[in-house]
Amino acid sequence: MSLRSALAPLRQAVRVTPRRAFGSSASRQSESLFVHRDTDYNNPNIKFEFTPENLKEAQKIIDRYPPQYKKAACMPILDLGQRQNGGWTSISVMNAVAKLLEMPKMRVYEVATFYTMYNREPVATNFVQLCTTTPCQLGGCGSTKILETIESHLNVHPGQTTKDGKFTLIEVECLGACSNAPMMQINDDFYEDLTPETTIQVLQALSKGERPKPGPQSGRRTSENSAGLTTLTGPPPKPGQFNLPEFQ
């Protein structure tokens, strides 16, 4: 998750000082731990078992791979576990996956700590991942503004969960929707082309338990030109339309 915090120093760097800067980039360390510490909400004694439906689903995933490479199913099944466990992967989830796939537990821990989308700490029902990578920072009104909006609206800072337990906010790196910058992902949905107003609308709807329409909030379709199409405006050519008559 080192990448997620990438922008914090950038924002600091704006304060230029007359002194010569020694470090051109800060030694950036993730704030999440890469070792497990037993806590009352996350320890191996907490039971976790896949539900029968999920077990069926898991079996389907496992069947995609040759039987001796059962462990290839590790990532999708961890995801399955994370979903069942309310959006985060506890140590018990990892252990359950190891057991299911007959792999040493450490191999699962390695995978779960490597990928940032396995949340190893609990998250709220609405997991707000705001993209703050450069295109999003520059596009539209800029993600910095969105971040400030969310921070003041929810009264949390990145990495924190609201008091009512409805939202967890984090900053993430590019989610691949740069053309609709700025954007955020909440659970499995992308909310794009954000402005402070639409952001608040989305958050308010979510806190009421509704599911606002994912996608661009500006009303445009996907990432089409917001000023209207400039090309491909006519109907698509029919098969053979431009062929010589004898070949039509």
């Binding site: 998750m1 080192s2 990448l3 020694f22 890469f34 070792v35 450490m106 900053e171």
Partner: protein
């Protein structure tokens, strides 16, 4: 190394359990290829790593992650070399040598690449060499001197990466800030030691080595990761801040704490053994030694007998050698012992020289009562002592991993011969060898099928009634191997088991006794047992019935007290005040294995020379000299005055004792004759009593390891599982958060 390619990058793949092993059934033999390294032509087998080809051409390539006995990782980039027509420098460890390629290891590009890699490695390295135990034998230190830049461009005021230390138990001390993430330790733990809990967590700058959860590294081979770690991230806890490598005198010797005969290097300073390191011997221990071999040395300092002791009433009183010898003479005469009433008992740590001297002495005194301190040691061994192949590990340690099906009878190789166990782990992972056990279950580093518990089960399994998957595998195995544990042979059922096994061998001799393969092996677990049988240190049938009046204990510390009659006169000769000394009327202080140059015969029958690293403490003497002196006192002088004449005598007894470092394989006829002898023994059928593991606590098996503080800590941590992991860093201990 052919076959190496098959494990490239598969350490994660091979680490798995249950049918997820990495298979490559035959080692492919490739044609040789020729390439040019620094203008020099070199021919290597196809599939050789480029780094090895460079090595073969005499060019040194610096490295951190590459290790020729581990899988290839290719993650440190220190081994960059220039290859003609390749746009970038290539990592020579991860690149196979290609025919006709031109490689340069000494060009400006290579120098610059190495300097760059070095700079990156040092960017996050704490540079705390003055307080680091690796100093003086640190690859990072050496290579930065040689290949690194002479100045730094690192002016990071916010500091370096910091990683918290892990608590891996009483042996490995960690200082994870120093880690350069070469993953050698991870590969060793997973592939060789069979500890699948060590791995890497996080990624990028946050990558760290550990177990994720708090856990000790519970392995009898864990000490090896200390040697493997190219930096000071993993160092030795017992040896922490004790000495610098350049202060130590290095003596190459042989380990005696099990019967494998691992080659070791004893590092000493003055009169003290400071540490024990492995010495490479591809035929035995490769590059590894187990933790007992490595760390029991502090036992050499405690509980030592440093002066002769004579019992007066219920107290031992220090005495001079003359006084002690005189007391023995009186005691012997007063005991009235005659003929077979004079009994000698040899323990696990008796060296071959003193075994020969003691045998000669006792024989001269008219007795044949030469016994060992094993449970039924007062009886002749069921293996006999005439035909060597009946009690040797005939398969040899080096080729044991060629076996495709292994039947373990009453033995836990992990504790009785940890080095052999690593070979089995290798064959389990790489060639898919199958294992089965008859005996008590143990925590194994390979999967096995449990096919029985007793001598009766041995008979029925080998009698063709093998059920389960292994029964079938066994019938089809091309190189089957039976290992009979020393615990079985020493027990009541020894002869019955040997009979069943030898019958099976003879019936299936095409597979068991094929050209270049001998599938019958006895696994000894004590260093002196093979030599004792080699020199004929066994009682005659008549002698074993005599009630002893004079008992001579030579290093006999596992003796059953009930075998020593109340009124017998007892002499104990040995180096530790352990069990044996308690019964003695006179104690004679001998030398431990690091203090004498003597011959040791390992379980394969390979004789090796141990060397003197430090002098024996106090008034103690070399053991054969004590016996020689004693022979004079009791009026039966032995005809050798120096070690050379004694060795001549050993040559007469058995020339193999002096053919050092060679493994003599008995001829097929001899093996067959031996098996016939075993199979014709008249014994009753095996009972259904379950075999017991002879070693219940790996860390405390002999007087040296029992006196060792480190071994006591290991026993507590790993055998009793009572280790308290220290909270590594309470300051950070709070909850993690997102950011």
């Amino acid at each position: 190394m052919p076959g190496r390619r098959s494990v490239i990058g598969s350490y994660q793949a091979v680490a798995d359990i249950a049918g997820q092993r990495f298979f490559s059934t035959t080692i492919p033999r490739h044609a040789d290829i020729t390439l040019t390294v620094d203008g020099k032509e070199v021919t290597v087998p196809q599939g050789t790593a480029l780094i090895q080809a460079c090595e073969a051409a005499g060019a040194t390539v610096p490295r951190f992650c590459y290790h020729d006995r581990l899988a290839i990782a290719g993650n440190c980039r220190m081994c960059l070399v220039e290859v003609e027509r390749s746009p970038k420098p290539v990592a020579s460890c991860a690149m196979p040598a290609m025919p006709g390629s031109k490689v340069f290891t000494n060009t400006p590009l290579v120098h610059k690449a190495r300097e760059g890699v070095m700079e990156f490695l040092l960017a996050n390295h704490p540079l705390d060499c003055p307080i680091c135990d690796q100093g003086g034998e640190c690859d990072l230190q050496d290579q930065s001197m040689r290949y690194g830049s002479d100045r730094t461009r690192f002016h990071e005021i916010t500091g370096k990466r910091a990683t918290e230390n892990k608590d891996l138990g009483p042996i490995v001390k960690t200082s994870m800030n120093r880690c350069i993430q070469c993953t050698r330790c991870v590969r060793f733990a997973n592939d060789v030691a069979g500890v699948e809990d060590l791995g890497t967590t996080g990624r990028g700058n946050d990558l760290q080595i550990g177990m994720y959860i708090e856990k000790t590294m519970d392995s009898e081979m864990s000490g090896n990761i200390i040697d493997l770690c190219p930096v000071g991230a993993l160092t030795s806890k017992p040896y922490a801040f004790q000495a610098r490598p350049w202060e130590l005198k290095k003596t190459e010797s042989v380990d005696v704490l099990d019967a494998v005969g691992s080659n070791i290097r004893v590092d000493s300073r003055g009169v003290q053994v400071m540490r024990v390191q492995p010495k490479i011997n591809d035929e035995i221990n490769e590059e590894w030694i187990n933790d007992k071999t490595r760390y029991a040395y502090d036992g050499l300092k405690y509980q030592r007998l440093t002066t002769p002791l004579v019992r007066e009433g219920d107290k031992f009183v220090p005495a001079t050698w003359e006084h002690a010898m005189e007391s023995i003479r009186h005691g012997f005469l007063n005991s009235g012992a005659r003929g077979d009433e004079i009994k000698a008992v040899a323990g696990a740590l008796a060296d071959t020289e003193s075994l020969v001297a003691l045998k000669d002495l006792i024989n001269r005194m008219g007795s044949e009562n030469l016994t060992t301190d094993t449970p039924l040691g007062h009886l002749p061994s069921p293996t006999g002592s005439e035909i060597r192949s009946n009690y040797l590990f005939n398969t040899s340690i080096e080729t044991a991993n060629e076996a495709d099906a292994v039947l373990l009878i009453g033995t836990n190789p992990r504790h009785e011969a940890a080095i052999l166990n690593t070979r089995f782990r290798k064959s389990y992972l790489q060639t898919g060898a199958e294992f089965a056990l008859i005996g008590e279950n143990f925590d194994s580093t390979f999967e096995y099928e449990h096919v029985g518990t007793s001598a009766k089960d041995v008979e029925s399994f080998l009698g063709g009634k093998g059920k389960g998957a292994f029964g079938k595998i066994w019938k089809e195995a091309k190189k089957p191997l039976v290992i009979v544990g020393s615990g079985v042979i020493e027990g009541k059922e020894g002869a019955a088991v040997l009979k069943a096994v030898s019958k099976h061998m003879l019936d299936n001799s095409a597979r068991f006794l094929a050209e270049g393969w001998n599938g019958f092996s006895v696994l000894q677990r004590a260093a002196s047992r093979t030599a004792a049988l080699d020199v004929g240190f066994t009682p005659s049938a008549a002698a074993s019935k005599a009630t002893p009046k004079f008992v001579y204990l030579l290093n006999a510390d596992d003796i059953d007290p009930s075998t020593i009659p109340e009124n017998a006169f007892v002499v104990y000769q040995g180096h530790h005040g352990d069990l044996g000394a308690q019964f003695a009327d006179v104690c004679l202080p001998g030398a431990a294995y690091t203090e004498k140059a003597t011959t040791w015969v390992n379980t394969e029958g390979r004789s090796q020379m141990g060397r003197t690293a430090v002098p024996p403490p106090g008034a103690s003497r070399e053991d054969w000299k004590i016996l020689r002196a004693l022979s004079e006192v009791v009026g039966e002088p032995l005809p050798y005055d120096d070690i050379y004449t004694l060795r001549e005598r050993m040559w007469d007894v058995s020339p193999t004792l002096l053919r050092y470092d060679t493994l003599e394989r008995p001829s097929a006829e001899l093996v067959t004759a031996g098996l016939k002898q075993l199979s014709s023994a008249s014994v009753s059928a095996g009972s259904a009593t379950a075999f017991k593991k002879p070693i219940s606590d790996f860390y405390r098996t002999d007087p040296i390891s029992r006196a060792s503080v480190t071994m006591a800590a290991c026993s507590k941590a790993f055998t009793k599982k009572e280790y308290e992991t220290t909270q590594v860093d309470d300051a950070i201990g709070g909850q993690a958060s997102y950011a």
